[in-house]
Subunit: 202 residues, 2 copies
C-alpha cells in the first residue's frame, strides 16, 4: 500500500469487511463465512457486500490474503527484525504466542483453524491457505539452517524436524488456549520453546 | 458393549449413522453436521434419523462420544499395552501417526479439528470435546511422570512441557498430512518423536 495516497471510502469499507471476515472465520470457519452472515454482523446490506466481493469464494480468498498480511505483520516481521538464527526462531515463536495473547482473532490462529478446516476441501481457497502455510514453515526451516550454520544449534539438527517441533508446540498452545481460554499455556509454550532452543528463560 | 448379546437392528443402524457422522465431521466440521446432510449421505430419510437423534446437538454429542471410543481403541489402548514410561509415550505417538496413515477419518484427527472448531462455541458439545482432550493430555503427562520416576527421562523433565511438545508434534503432523496429503510427514513425525524421547530410530 502506498502511504502517501489516502484510502478511498471503497477501500476503507473493503478493509472493514475483511477485518470482520477474518474474525468471523476464526469462530465459524471459512466455510461458515457467507455474504449473508457477514452482512448481518456488519449491519450492511447483502447488495453492498456483493459490490465488493462477487461470490463467497472471492470473499474467502480475500480473507485468507488479509489474514496472511496480518500474520506477516504480527509474527513474521518481528522475526525478520531479530538477529539471525536462534534469535529469529525465538522472536517468531514469541510473536506467535503474543498474537494469541492479545486476541488478534477471537478464535486463535487463523491459519491453524483454516488448515484443518480446508484441508479436505480441495480448490483455490485451500490452495491459498496451503501456500501461506508452507511459506511460513519454509521460513522457520531457513532460520534453523542459519542457526546451524552459525554454530548456535548442533550440526545434526534437522531443519525439517525442528520446524515441525516448533510449529507443533505453537499449534498445541493455540489449541489449548482456544479451548480452555487459560493463559498459563502461553507461558508454558514460551518456556518449552526456550528450553528446546537452549535459550535461558527470562 | 456386551459381546454375548447380538446388537439389535436399531443399534446397528445407530452405529452406522455415527460412523458416517464421524467421517463427515472431519470434513465439514461438527457444526457442518446436520440431520439433513447426514441423511443424504446415508440415503436415509430425515425422519429415520430423528428417530435416533432428536436434535443436532444430540447427534453432535453422540458423534464426539463415538470418536472418543475410536481414539481410545486406536491410540490409547496400544499405549496402555506398552511397557511403562517411554515405551508408552512412543506407542501413543506411533499409534496416533498410524491412525492418520490408515485414514481412520478422511479429515485426519477428529479431536484436532473439533478442538479448534468448537473452542469458541461454548456449550455441551465443546465441553465434551474439551473433556476428552484434557483426558488424553493428562494421560501423556502421566506417562512422562512414570518415565521420569523410572529414570528413563531426566529428573528435570517437565511433564506438562513434554506433553505439550509431543501433543504439538502430533498436531503438526496431522495438519500437514491433511493439508498436503503427503505421507513423508508421517515418517518425519515418527523420527522427531524418537529423537525427543532418546529412542533409537528403527
Amino acid at each position: 500500500m502506498n502511504p502517501r495516497r489516502p484510502r478511498s471510502d471503497g477501500e476503507r469499507t473493503r478493509a472493514a469487511i475483511l477485518q470482520s471476515a477474518m474474525r468471523l472465520s476464526t469462530v465459524d470457519g471459512l466455510e461458515g463465512l457467507t455474504i449473508g452472515n457477514l452482512a448481518k454482523s456488519l449491519g450492511m446490506s447483502k447488495g453492498g457486500l456483493y459490490a465488493h466481493f462477487g461470490s463467497k469464494e472471492e470473499l474467502q480468498l480475500a480473507t485468507v490474503e488479509a489474514a496472511g498480511a496480518v500474520f506477516v505483520a504480527e509474527v513474521i516481521e518481528p522475526a525478520l527484525r531479530a538477529d539471525p538464527g536462534v534469535p529469529q526462531l525465538l522472536a517468531f515463536c514469541d510473536a506467535y504466542v503474543d498474537h494469541l495473547e492479545r486476541l488478534t482473532f477471537p478464535g486463535g490462529c487463523f491459519f491453524a483453524g483454516a488448515a484443518l478446516e480446508m484441508g479436505t476441501h480441495r480448490g483455490p481457497v485451500q490452495e491459498k491457505v496451503a501456500e501461506f502455510h508452507s511459506g511460513f514453515v519454509a521460513l522457520v526451516r531457513e532460520f534453523v539452517r542459519t542457526a546451524v550454520a552459525l554454530g548456535q544449534l548442533p550440526d545434526d539438527e534437522d531443519p525439517a524436524g525442528l520446524a515441525l517441533e516448533l510449529h507443533g508446540t505453537l499449534l498445541a498452545v493455540d489449541t489449548s488456549f482456544v479451548m480452555y481460554g487459560d493463559s498459563s499455556v502461553l507461558d508454558l509454550g514460551r518456556t518449552v520453546v526456550r528450553r528446546r532452543l537452549g535459550v535461558k528463560a527470562t
